[in-house]
């Protein structure tokens, strides 16, 4: 018979269509040598799947949750902006344009009188109403203020000190010149560009969440770990403590702690004080999660095995137990960060957290907290938007992470 079947084996006697009733059923016999060691040969793809580490599995599951992924990228973008705030913001933080106080936002146009000019905004004419003393801005379609990209210098407020370390003046986008300002989100009462302030404010607001989480994690893992691992009265004591702390309404406690920060401390120290305070009330839930996980996991085989093999307690906890629920921790973290951001915002809003000249979203919202702003200058409430978006993003990401955290489900 011809050996032209695809696998190189030999077919049975019969061709399809030529079967007779008692013939053996057509089947395929492989010519390959018998290999007793291999139960199942995995294809490359299958091998990738089964040998994948826990983290890879998590990532694949996460990828399916499209919104979470989008949120993740958004957050990375935000943190990039915060890190390079000086580049993304057209104006330096302290820059003021005293002729354009309380100027409304300018819309970006592409076409001027029918011709494509490139991105630009229209300038204003300003006059003060003599009766109400309000500065009235009217859009003047004759003033075309172009927007430049990847530019540097040429107008006041373009120079900055990157992270306070070295000077620079490169920006993502800038106005053309001093006489052609670009205020995409308007200006505040001293003529400072709101967009720039929001971008600079992101640095503080976003970092407080991160640093707070690190502190909270540290506390939570250590305390929860100890409780879960040792059990007994240590566990009981810690549980009581957690219950007590959880029964505290958060904000009043934050208020109380913030009120005790001496006002004469420098802003940096106060910043760290605030993060510490925010972290203080966050570690209980983390500790509780850590504790319950540890309690169940320490009975697992691998933990007992490690113990029998003589590993120290620290090693067991650190090397074996913690990584097995690290995914859950990450999911909790991503849900706790927005709490901290909101907390800082609320505290600064009440005047207990950071204060000008430090700029955070909370401080900006504090300045917007009165009825005049709602009625006359609503663009000053713009910092609300990045707050909402950040929190939404963290929540979606956290949901996705949590779903993905248990890839074996």
């Amino acid at each position: 018979m011809s050996a032209d079947t695809p696998n190189g084996g030999s077919p049975g006697n019969n061709e399809p269509g030529n079967e007779k009733p008692n013939d053996p059923i057509p089947h395929f016999v492989s010519d390959e040598p018998f290999n007793a060691d291999v139960e199942v040969v995995l294809t490359a793809e299958q091998e990738k799947y089964y040998m994948a580490s826990q983290w890879k599995l998590m990532w694949w599951k996460l990828k399916r949750h499209k919104i979470a992924v989008a949120a993740g990228f958004f957050l990375i973008f935000l943190y990039l902006v915060a890190a390079f705030a000086e580049v993304f913001a057209p104006y330096e933080l302290q820059h003021r344009d005293v002729r354009n106080v309380y100027a409304p936002p300018q819309a970006v146009h592409l076409f001027h009188e029918g011709k494509l000019v490139g991105p630009f905004v229209y300038g204003y004419n300003a006059r003060r109403d003599p009766e109400t003393l309000q500065k009235i801005y009217t859009v003047d379609t004759n003033k075309v203020h172009r927007i430049r990209f990847f530019c540097s210098g040429g107008y006041p407020g373009s120079e900055y000190e990157f992270w306070g370390l070295f000077k620079g003046d490169f920006h993502l986008f800038c106005p053309e010149s001093r006489r052609a300002p670009v205020f995409l989100l308007g200006t505040d009462r001293l003529g400072r560009d709101m967009l720039s302030r929001i971008i600079y404010g992101s640095r503080i607001s976003l970092s407080i969440g991160l640093i707070g989480i690190v502190l909270s994690f540290g506390l939570g893992i250590i305390i929860g770990g100890v409780a879960g691992f040792y059990g007994g009265w240590v566990d009981n004591g810690v549980q009581r403590l957690i219950e007590v702390l959880k029964s505290f309404p958060r904000l009043p406690l934050w208020m109380a702690l913030s009120a005790s920060l001496p006002a004469k401390w420098s802003p940096i120290v106060i910043y760290f004080g605030i993060t510490l305070i925010l972290a203080m009330l966050d570690w209980p839930s983390l500790a509780r999660a850590v504790r319950s996980k540890l309690l169940s996991l320490r009975e697992e085989d691998f933990a007992i095995a490690a113990n029998l093999m003589g590993a120290s307690t620290k090693r067991i906890i650190g090397r074996h137990l913690v990584p097995s629920f690290a995914s859950h921790l990450i999911a909790s973290a991503s849900l706790a960060i927005p709490e901290m951001i909101l907390g800082e915002t609320a505290l600064s809003f009440l005047g207990l957290g950071l204060r000008p000249p430090v700029t955070s979203w909370g401080v900006l919202l504090n300045e917007a907290q009165n009825i005049q702003v709602v009625v006359l200058y609503p663009w000053l409430m713009a910092p609300m938007i990045p707050v909402i978006l950040t929190i939404l993003a963290f929540n979606f990401l956290g949901d996705g992470l949590r779903d993905a955290a248990d890839p074996y489900k």
Binding site: T132, L133, Q134, R189, L190, K264, P356, Q369, N370, Q372
Partner: protein, 629 residues
């Protein structure tokens, strides 16, 4: 008709006519008329003193509830300020006139004889006599349990207490051997020393008058630690926090704090009448709503307030104007009396010797002042409505001279730089910030009480122009008490606050604000404290210019003629202008006042000042009335 019958007949006729004549003379509010008809109150002619104080105003209209808003429960005290019933008060021309007193006489400012009005009664109907003064003087001011430090400092002239003589039920005399020119102005102030109290009410809390068991029960019930604290807690005529305490003000509080709304009801025994003899006040009740400070402009613009100035700032003006027509109120702009709306106070007592030398060098202060761009600040923050100025007297004062306002107050960076170069600060580091002789950067930490963004905003603007002369500042907002304590202790470098409280002064008013006399003068707190505590705390003056100011102050105290006082004042103001002890920024800002359209007798143009003026006080809110449609 036989003559011998004439006299008795006339007497009978006169006697019958007299009451009806008397009651025909005085009018009263319908609210009180109803109570008189019910027999709860005596008729108006028996409630008013003889003679009552006649205010040339009217006719008004009785009735109505005046709604005002305040930010704290404590602000019930403002009703004592607004009510402005004083022994002597200022009229709207800032002349001292007797108010509660029927008359007063002074001899060389050393002997003051006060005459009370006959038949003047407290708000509960009990007579107001010199017994109330005596009680205060002997049983309170000189009682070691109630006043461990003795009588208030205001009544002491160089430590000497007055000789208080009660001449009769309605006449009292205070005398010192040296002049006390502060006495009458203090009595006319917004927060006067109350040298009288309702003795009949307070005796129940006093150890010498109350039955011991009753007193003990009272102490226990209120959880006090002794009769002293008990008495002290109940006798505050200023605070208006005790509804049971009788008062002489036009309205009295009927709600015990704390509350969200306080109701002040008219005093049926109030001593003033209008030109037609109608008893004041016109308005029946004042409703004080306690609200968050930030919401008060919103409430005003929503038409929920009838009369408001406190907690309203120029930054609210546009917002208020927008709702005027819809809600039916008007927004007035009154002048203010602050010598400067905002001023910087370099702390002359700063502990560090390097800094102290610099701050005490007046060239340094001149340079700082020359580098403040007042025009820009005025334009950006005050709508261009204020005036660049030093922290000195205002144009409305007869003592004003342009030089006082503008000396060293221009904007001249070159001159400022030259001055600083000239005093040994020529060296600068790579950022352009000057260096002290010992190599430290010229960095000044400016602290504020943290209550107003206005102050931080101004400092932002100043920061840039001072950087141009090589001075870097850091703003540190704080809290009022912390801020004040640090200033008093000499720990701050520079503080920011309002300027002098009263810039509309005459030569007869005390120049104490321009002289080291008080601890809360942030440029020289320790010299002020030294004076206040009579040498027990603080530091003695150790700077020639300040010493000269103090000597002038002493001379003013014992001066006897207007000409002498004027000359002293001018010298004091000149020294202040020459030395630039404080750096004023702008003056003459306006105060928005919201007035409901139906409310009348509120002056359109006036001066909103604390002392003298008591905010609304000297314009007599008891003469405001609601016009009936």
């Amino acid at each position: 008709m036989r003559l011998k019958y004439f006299a008795p007949a006339a007497a009978i006729v006169a006697l019958t006519l007299l009451p009806s004549l008397a009651s025909a003379d005085f009018g009263q509010s319908p609210m009180l008329a109803a109570e008189v008809a019910d027999g709860k109150l005596p008729p108006v002619d028996q409630r008013l003193p003889q003679p009552p104080r006649v205010i040339e105003t009217g006719p008004g209209a009785y009735g109505g509830d005046l709604r005002i808003a305040m930010a704290r429960s404590r602000d019930t005290r403002l009703m004592t300020v607004y009510g402005y019933a004083r022994l002597v008060g200022y009229d709207s021309g800032y002349n001292l006139v007797p108010d509660i007193l029927e008359s007063f006489e002074t001899v060389d400012d050393k002997v003051f004889t006060f005459k009370l009005r006959r038949g003047h009664k407290w708000s509960d109907g009990h007579p107001f006599t010199t017994e109330d003064f005596r009680y205060w003087w002997e049983d309170m001011a000189n009682n070691p349990d109630l006043s461990p430090l003795g009588p208030p400092i205001l009544l002491k002239v160089d430590g000497e207490v007055p000789n208080v003589e009660i001449l009769d039920e309605h006449t009292i005399r205070f005398s010192w051997s040296k002049p006390n020119p502060f006495f009458l102005p203090a009595l006319a102030g917004p927060r006067p020393p109350f040298i009288y109290r309702p003795a009949h009410y307070l005796k129940q809390f006093h150890k010498s008058y109350a039955a011991p068991e009753e007193l003990a029960t009272r102490i226990k019930k209120r959880r006090m630690r002794g009769w002293g604290p008990l008495h002290n807690s109940q006798d505050n005529l200023y605070d208006m926090d005790n509804p049971a305490l009788p008062t002489l003000q036009p309205w009295f509080n009927t709600i015990r704090p704390p509350a969200q709304q306080f109701v002040f009801v008219r005093n049926p025994y109030f001593h003033r009448v209008d030109a037609a003899g109608n008893q004041l006040p016109y308005i029946d009740r004042v409703l004080m709503n306690i609200s968050d400070g930030k919401l008060i402009p919103a409430k005003a613009s929503a038409g929920e307030i009838d009369l408001q100035a406190r907690n309203l700032f120029m930054s609210h003006f546009t917002f208020l104007k927008q709702s005027e027509k819809k809600e039916g109120f008007r927004t007035l702009l009154w002048d203010t009396s602050l010598g400067a709306r905002i001023a910087l106070y370099p702390n002359l007592h700063i502990a560090d010797p390097g800094w102290r030398a610099i701050f005490r060098n007046r060239d340094f202060r001149h340079a700082l002042s020359l580098a403040v761009d007042r025009e820009e600040i005025n334009e950006v923050i005050y709508f261009g409505l204020a005036q660049p100025a030093n922290n000195t007297v205002l144009p409305q004062s007869p003592l004003f001279r342009e030089e006082f306002q503008t000396k060293w107050a221009g904007f001249d960076l070159d001159r400022a730089n030259a001055l600083l170069d000239g005093i040994g600060l020529e060296k600068r580091d790579k950022d352009g910030v000057r260096l002290l002789p010992d190599g430290r950067r010229l960095e000044i930490v400016v602290e504020t009480a943290g209550e107003e963004t206005e102050q931080t905003d101004v400092l932002e603007l100043i920061h840039d122009s001072w950087l141009d002369i090589g001075v870097k500042i850091f703003t540190r907002p704080s809290q009022r008490e912390v801020f004040r304590n640090r200033v008093f202790a000499g720990e701050t470098m520079m503080g920011v606050w309002f300027g002098v409280n009263n810039g509309i002064v005459t030569a007869n008013m005390s120049p104490e604000e321009f002289v080291p006399t008080r601890q809360d003068q942030y440029q020289w707190p320790k010299w002020g404290q030294y004076f206040q505590t009579e040498g027990q705390a603080g530091d003695a003056i150790d700077m020639p210019a300040a010493q000269e100011l103090f000597d002038l102050f002493r001379r003013w105290q014992s001066a006897t003629s207007d000409a002498a006082r004027t000359e002293i004042w001018e010298r004091i103001l000149q020294i202040n202008a020459d030395e630039t002890f404080t750096i004023g920024v702008v003056c003459c800002t306006k105060q928005p006042v919201v007035v409901m359209n139906a409310l009348r007798n509120v002056p359109d143009d006036a001066i909103y000042a604390w002392d003298p003026g008591a905010h609304f006080g000297i314009y007599l809110p008891d003469t405001f009335y609601f016009e009936r449609p």
